[in-house]
């Protein structure tokens, strides 16, 4: 897919900006705190209706007031479509081709993006919560139904944790009630686990291949799903449900003691191995960064596989961190087929000589000026 136009109104530090885009590679240059990341974030928000760096939608609204509207014109295989997303303290309104969508799930995934930013190193280095968020964002982008399951699961989890906390205070344990929440938790949990399992499997296939390419065959990358209960290969939903329920009964006493739910996809993790060693523990900074890169590139291929088109690639401040060899590889792999948006503080650090037909934009205090 190809983004032809991006127009923002009262979004972060952009009172008004309207950018016509006609190249596959687009570089946004400017000193710090000018609005480069904000620009990529806006594209991300148009794709997923959520930011990649904050849970708080209200942070996206211009401090100086005004109605916040994001607009994109997107070329897809089956034609052009326009996306409009307005944000306010009250909520979001989304339109495709001028038609208001009652459900955000109809809007999410019209435009697909893969963002690679410095904080993505945390996917490898950070805590499991970061990895779960990564999984959820990416699966949600191609399977909107997943987001619904997830929101249901989170509500059930909250209710169940509350119940577990209440119980010691009262005379006895309301086991009937706990049983009800167990069943609900397992029902939704199983669906999430199955989706994650199949996503990770596909991701692994791509990432392994890509990582071997980047490291010129020097490293093998393996990605493993580490769910909170043992999972066989492609289990039947009913079988997995039973296993989930059994596991819940096994940890019951422990859960009652600790007042929290100890089994389920909210405790899942993702493990990365480089040459058989856990990257999180043994990987060098460089290896971890390459792992994160392989992961993102794998995602690009995975999205193409699932939706039939390449997503947009958003590279926030990461190109300059890669050595020349990796930059070249990255750009050569994608410049003809994946539309890419790059931010950098200095154009010198990006090897422009390898880029044919790139647009360079200057970003200064919420203003963008083009220069081919």
């Amino acid at each position: 897919m190809f983004l032809k136009r991006l127009a923002l109104q009262h979004y972060r530090n952009y009172a008004h900006v309207d950018i016509a885009i006609d190249h596959n590679v687009n570089i946004f240059v400017g000193p710090n705190a000018q609005g480069k990341t904000n620009l990529l974030e806006a594209i991300f928000v148009l794709a997923l209706t959520k930011s990649h760096r904050t849970h708080q939608d209200k942070e996206l609204l211009d401090w100086n007031g005004g109605e916040t509207v994001l607009h994109a014109e997107l070329e897809r295989r089956y034609g052009t479509c326009t996306l409009d997303l307005s944000l306010s303290a009250k909520g979001k309104k989304a339109k495709i081709n001028g038609l208001e969508q009652k459900k955000l799930s109809n809007f999410i995934g019209t435009m697909n993006v893969v963002m690679f930013a410095p904080e993505d190193l945390e996917i490898v280095k950070g805590n499991p919560g970061v990895r779960r968020r990564f999984l959820d964002m990416e699966i949600g982008q191609v399977h909107p139904g997943y987001l619904y399951e997830l929101s249901q699961y989170q509500k059930i989890l909250q209710q169940r944790n509350n119940l577990l906390k209440q119980i010691p205070g009262r005379g006895g344990v309301d086991l009937d009630m706990l049983g009800v929440w167990n069943e609900q938790l397992a029902q939704h949990g199983v669906k999430i686990m199955k989706k994650r399992q199949s996503f990770i499997k596909k991701l692994q296939t791509w990432a392994e291949h890509i990582h071997a390419g980047i490291t010129a065959g020097g490293e093998t990358l393996r990605i493993d799903y580490a769910p909170s209960l043992p999972l066989s290969d492609e289990p039947e939903e009913a079988v997995l449900f039973d296993q989930f329920m059994i596991k819940l009964s096994q940890v019951k006493d422990q859960e009652l003691r600790r007042g929290m739910t100890l089994v389920g996809p909210h405790r899942d993790d993702l493990l990365f191995y480089i040459n058989g060693k856990e990257a999180h523990v043994y990987g060098s900074q460089g290896q971890q960064r390459t792992t994160a890169l392989s992961l993102k590139l794998a995602e690009i291929e995975l999205i193409r596989e699932e939706v039939g088109e390449y997503p947009l690639l958003l590279l926030d401040d990461v190109l300059s961190e890669l050595d020349e060899h990796r930059q070249t590889q990255l750009i050569q792999t994608f410049q003809s087929k994946v539309q890419t948006f790059i931010t950098t503080t200095g154009i010198e650090s990006v090897h422009l000589d390898r880029l044919e037909g790139a647009s360079v934009f200057q970003v200064r205090q919420g203003h963008v000026t083009g220069k081919d």
Partner: protein, 198 residues
């Protein structure tokens, strides 16, 4: 600078209503100040009357001005079915369809540990009492299709296992409430599943 006591008390009273924040409460209070005295009196009376004039039906727990309520007194209805709903407004919605001929039971809520609402807080004991009447053969669980409503339905279906009843759950149409935004595919799937036995 503070508001005089009567007005700040009114603001406080308004802000206790669901969905009313301090700003709106202030606007409403000052609106009352500008209203004609008769209108204010009518308004106050209406408020007091819902509380004094209405109570729960001793059979179905719906709100009513007579006891038992009009539906429970209606002998022409089908004794063999009881439809369990969360709120009086759900009963009204159900009645509007004119499809349902049985009796109701209104829970006034759903199980929610987060809000400290358990089975005893939502008129489940009253329901159990009714089920010992042998003419009841089917229980339709029409609680909301959200997490709390599902949990309530599941809990009830387990609770009444011993009564030898047919227990059914209504098919889901468009879900109510906050989950609407992601509900598309799921709604369709659920709607297809139809009314199922629990």
């Amino acid at each position: 600078m503070f508001y005089p006591e009567p007005i700040s008390r009114l603001i406080d009273a308004f802000s206790r209503l669901p969905g009313v924040g301090p700003k709106t409460a202030g606007r409403l209070a000052f609106h009352v100040l500008r209203m004609k005295e008769d209108d204010v009196l009518d308004f106050a009376k209406a408020l007091v009357n819902v509380k004094r004039g209405l109570h729960y039906c001793s059979v179905c727990c719906n709100i009513t001005d007579i006891d038992p309520c009009r539906i429970c007194q209606d002998k022409s209805r089908d004794r063999s079915v009881i439809c369990v709903v969360q709120e009086p407004k759900d009963l009204v919605a159900m009645e509007r369809t004119k499809e349902f001929q049985g009796y109701y039971h209104v829970l006034h809520g759903a199980i929610s540990p987060m809000e400290g609402i358990g089975p005893d807080q939502i008129h489940i004991p009253e329901l159990l009492k009714r089920l010992s009447d042998e003419s009841v053969q089917e229980l339709i669980l029409a609680t909301n299709p959200n997490v709390e409503g599902e949990a309530t339905a599941m809990y009830l279906s387990r609770l009444v296992k011993g009564f030898g009843l047919k227990v059914t759950r209504i098919a889901h149409g468009l879900p109510v409430g906050g989950d609407l935004e992601y509900a598309d595919e799921v709604t369709l799937t659920k709607a297809l599943e139809g009314r199922r036995e629990l």
